[in-house]
Symmetry: C2
Subunit: 234 residues, 2 copies
Amino acid sequence: MQDGFQMNMNEFLPLRDVVFNTLRQAILTGELKPGERLMEIHLANRLGVSRTPIREAIRKLELEGLVTMIPRRGAEVAQITEKSMNDVLEVRRAMDALCVELACDRITEEEIQALKQACDAFEEAVKSKDVKRIAQADVKLHDIIVRATGNQRLVQLVNNLSEQMYRYRFEYIKDFSQHERLVEEHRIIYESIVKKDKETASQAARMHIDNQEKAIIHQIRVDRENREKRIKNL
Amino acid sequence: MQDGFQMNMNEFLPLRDVVFNTLRQAILTGELKPGERLMEIHLANRLGVSRTPIREAIRKLELEGLVTMIPRRGAEVAQITEKSMNDVLEVRRAMDALCVELACDRITEEEIQALKQACDAFEEAVKSKDVKRIAQADVKLHDIIVRATGNQRLVQLVNNLSEQMYRYRFEYIKDFSQHERLVEEHRIIYESIVKKDKETASQAARMHIDNQEKAIIHQIRVDRENREKRIKNL
DNA sequence: TTGTATTTAATTATATACAATTTGAAAGAG
DNA sequence: CTCTTTCAAATTGTATATAATTAAATACAA
């Protein structure tokens, strides 16, 4: 944690937004762990700004669901429980189904091309067995579909839900046995969008989430057991 | 606007939350109109607090989608365009369908009783022709269904989406010709949830939004035309 | 030893002060 | 008369100072 997250000062943004992005990233990558306290002075010193932009960033993280506020005690990184992740996934399943259905109606020729490229790129990434690259290719592919809906609000909501999953996604993608399945699912989704076959597309999208759900919930249980063991050994 | 919104200081809450609730309410009731600037000093003077809690409240309203930030210019009440409302309704339709489906699976006996009461209360409210009372009864009824899903995240998201519609909902409920239809739709939803008939329930929920959509979009067009006329006359 | 006050330190909540930027109006040039 | 430039006022962005609250440590009594 010594030389952990730092601010990307290059950006031409208000400090609160830079801080917001920095903290968000640190939470998603697990650099700031669930339950860890976010103390204003420490963060301010560490990032080299005053407390004001820190506080404003925390207010936004709060509504984003990444931190929990305890009155007069400050913010801490939100815990992920099996229940809360189930809630997220349940909503995400419905939204992803909606996304591909809308995409069937509205996707443009250019977006179809981009989607094809993204599918190919994902397949390449899987072959390379580079986990980080796979994750990035996956995000890109989904992003194209979500944006093809032309629905700004939906884009924002799906991004927020994905965020909650990213904290566990790495574990999921590390499971190489699932990679072929992922490639296959992506191909089905791509093809049914091209054919405007909403029914198949939305079924595939739901299945895609179902599979991730199993892996993520499994990982949450493993994490909890490890935590409990650690406490017992003290 | 002279003696408009005021703070409810009785609450035992941080000032930022009191300010947040106050501003939110003022936006939803239309007291603060779309496009109106939210200037920190003015609000601070008006509500009798310093700029800090005002700023923090605005950060939350921003993520909630009720205000738009313009860099170095501050916040203004978010405009509602036909497009943005369509986006909201598209998502809301899918979420409401999800809500009733989950409710079919998970609703408890007590919640079914409460739902029945809420349906009856709504019918009574319609008979009274008291618009405010009708709106409240409607909110209560939907709230029971949404909470019956047992999904916290879904509750939060649906509430946020409803919020966007409240700004236009009054116009909708003022249209007395639609009241019988509303009562009928509520009854269908109630009965299909009791029967655990997901298909019918989700169809009815979608239909319910479709009908509101027509009225709300119509109202948005009327508002825009009025605005354009007013500008022309200057 | 344990439980309870009391004090102290740490931290958040709020207010204020200062800096940077933008906007609009007035002044001046073409 | 119109366009540009400059300047002042208003407003946001950031930093710091003060107040209020909480958590922890210590002292003291049962």
